[in-house]
Amino acid sequence: MSGDHHPELSFWRKYIFSIDHKVIGVQYAVTALVFLMVGFSLIMIMRYQMAYPGQSIPVLGNLLGSDESAYIAADGSMLPEGYNAFGAMHGTIMIFLGVVPLAVGGFGNYVMPLQIGAPDMSFPRLNMASYWVFFVGGVIMLASFFVTGGSANSGWTSYPPLSDIANEGGHYFWNGQTMWLLGMVFLITSSLLGSINFIVTIIHLRAPGLTFFRLPFFVWAQFITAFLLLLAFPPLEAAGVLQLMDRLFDTSFFMPSGLIVGGQILDQYSGGGNPLLWQHLFWFLAHPEVYVLILPAMGIVGDVIANNIRKPLWGYNTLVYSSIFLGFMSFVVWAHHMFITGMGTTLSAFFAATTMIISVPSVIILTCFLISLWGGAIRYTVPMLFALSFLPMFAIGGLTGLPLGLPASDIFLHDTYYVIGHFHYVVAPGTVMALFAGIYYWFPKVTGRSMSKTLGLLHFWPSFICMNAVFMPMFFVGLAGVSRRLWSQEEYELGALTMGWVRMSSWGAWGLGVAQIPFIINFFISIRGKKVDQNPWQATTLEWAAPSPPPHGNFEVTPVVHRGPYEYSVPGHKNDFSPQHISEA
């Protein structure tokens, strides 16, 4: 281990303020998993209010709302304040503190340098800084639950003027919405530092012989993701600064003139601003962000599938070009989230056209994965099951984007549960399942031990079923015309007619919660579980050329690459896998 040729580091330098990409990757992953659990718990509580509006929440109800100042619940049942606060924070936590840090900060940090045969990231100290900046952002977000007036409650999209005047009752600075903005500035800064590091590392630290078109698809996915983070986040940072100005200094970037809230003219504002400005800046980030959520997942799925079909991926070059194209196009579709704001025919036709165009590379990527299965010898390992389930789920998520991208059908579907169904099929049954695939696949790399297959199956099947039970009904609720973000839909004519679906969705969510227990047990017992050898999946990519777990500095000798990433079952070779770094067949 590293102790042999390096002076022993103190506990703090080794595990807390480490600059080793692997330790930082694990820190990111563990923090992100905790945040995923927090965000998921919020929604499990909200789902009770949705399914049984106004009824008191069993067990938890009294904990959430016992004293006077409680804003979450009263007499055991959820208040609209609590509902909106949890809703906003669920979205924020899941996206910015859960999925992205796990997919990019966790997997990207840990696996990418190994897959390119690098000893570390190009800027190890910057890497550490990016984790700690992220951590501070996360703490600020969590702390906001406990300030007077509670956390941010204007949705994860934080549309002004509502967000400009939200959480007014609290402290001038330490209130929910202001802390949300502050937290976002930290999270954005962290992503920027990270993305610079990723790009430079991938360009500069590839092992000899590892050309761009020999990179595993996962590395490509991280590379494109890093560019999206680098270029799409700054406009949101700008928007965040502007909203902070509005809140702290009463500027009017997003405040038009003559607003009257609750009978009072808001005369501390000069007016003259425009609420749509925020939406443009926000969605300029948030659509590329969608691909930040999905590309790393596709990368994981590509690697896991290739490994388990024991043959190369079909259309590797096509996959790469499609992903690059996807990255570019994602900058010119943002206003498809704004059709209903009063957009004219020409502009909406433009954004509808770009949206239709961007669906093509997504279809191509999916098709490549599907065709790859043909002629393989499919090994149904736990990571493979998760990776395979990604395909149909992502297909549903992507396809349901079509009617949302066509302005005419979006008139009806916009801001209904259909939208929630659509993007959750992409990010939850899609990305989250892919992330689980990644955890099961690389666990032996990180710990040198394998996870239990039985518990893995016990995790996979219930999760797969529950995911669909949660999200499929949302399409029906949306098609029936029910708006999203309602504390109670029962009083609405169409809402009352779909309560059955809503309850099914809620029970699905609680089932999904239970289905994570085998995973948690598996995770902890496997840390002390059965030891495995260096390359348990008989994989070809470079991370398996390093010892498991890899020492500080990763490789005993810098690997030299001789072939593409997925050379499985090469005719004439003696094994059914030909690792990239081994020259003789």
């Binding site: 800027f123 500069h204 200094f249 500027t251």
Partner: protein
């Protein structure tokens, strides 16, 4: 530690032609372009949408002070280049001198900005909440001033404790001065856009 063994921290990469730090700073500047790009777009969006946008007689921005500040920043860019050139010519004493001049000019810019521009404006009640013009003016120039302050901090670091690196690895130190310079030129460039946008148009 790994920082030393990593390739291309000092020498340029054969394909990209850049050492890692320089590529990093270019990428950082790309994101800065997006940041200020978003703010300039905001400016256009607000201005086009507001028929009552103040003319520049009404805004009381002083063109002479703006011009002097522009000249100060342009000069500081030149002195920054001189610092780097001195490093290249192995003259650390001169490099430190030029860095000091650069930091001094930056401070002069800030002093002028705060004492002769911000302060009287705030005195006259022309605060950010007065109109969207002042809002965007204070936000953009304020963010730019923060960038200048950041730059001064970095330069001060390289005059002081950061200069130790020169003794162990002069080339590495020179590279860092070059990166600082790139950032510094960018900050100047932003001002060169800000000046006409707020003072002249």
């Amino acid at each position: 530690m790994s920082a030393e063994v990593l390739p291309y921290t000092v020498k340029p990469h054969p394909v990209s032609g850049l050492y890692s730090g320089k590529m990093g700073i270019w990428l950082f500047l790309a994101s800065e372009v997006m940041l200020f790009g978003a703010l300039f777009s905001t400016y256009i969006f607000l201005r086009v949408g507001d028929p009552a946008w103040p003319s520049h007689e009404e805004t009381h921005l002083s063109i002479p002070i703006g011009t002097i500040n522009t000249l100060i920043l342009i000069t500081s860019s030149i002195t920054m280049v001189m610092a780097w050139a001195s490093c290249k010519m192995n003259n650390i004493a001169k490099a430190k001198m030029w860095l000091t001049v650069t930091a001094g000019l930056a401070l002069a810019f800030l002093v002028l900005k705060f004492s002769l521009e911000y302060y009287p404006k705030i005195q006259h009640g022309n605060v950010p909440s007065k109109s969207t013009f002042y809002a965007i003016y204070f936000t953009m120039t304020g963010l730019h001033a923060l960038h200048i302050i950041g730059g001064v901090a970095v330069i001060a670091y390289f005059i002081g404790p950061g200069a130790k690196l020169w003794k162990t690895d002069p080339e590495y130190y020179t590279n860092r001065i070059e990166c600082t310079g790139l950032y510094w030129h960018f900050v100047d460039l932003v001002w060169i856009f800000l000046f006409p946008v707020f003072y002249l148009l």
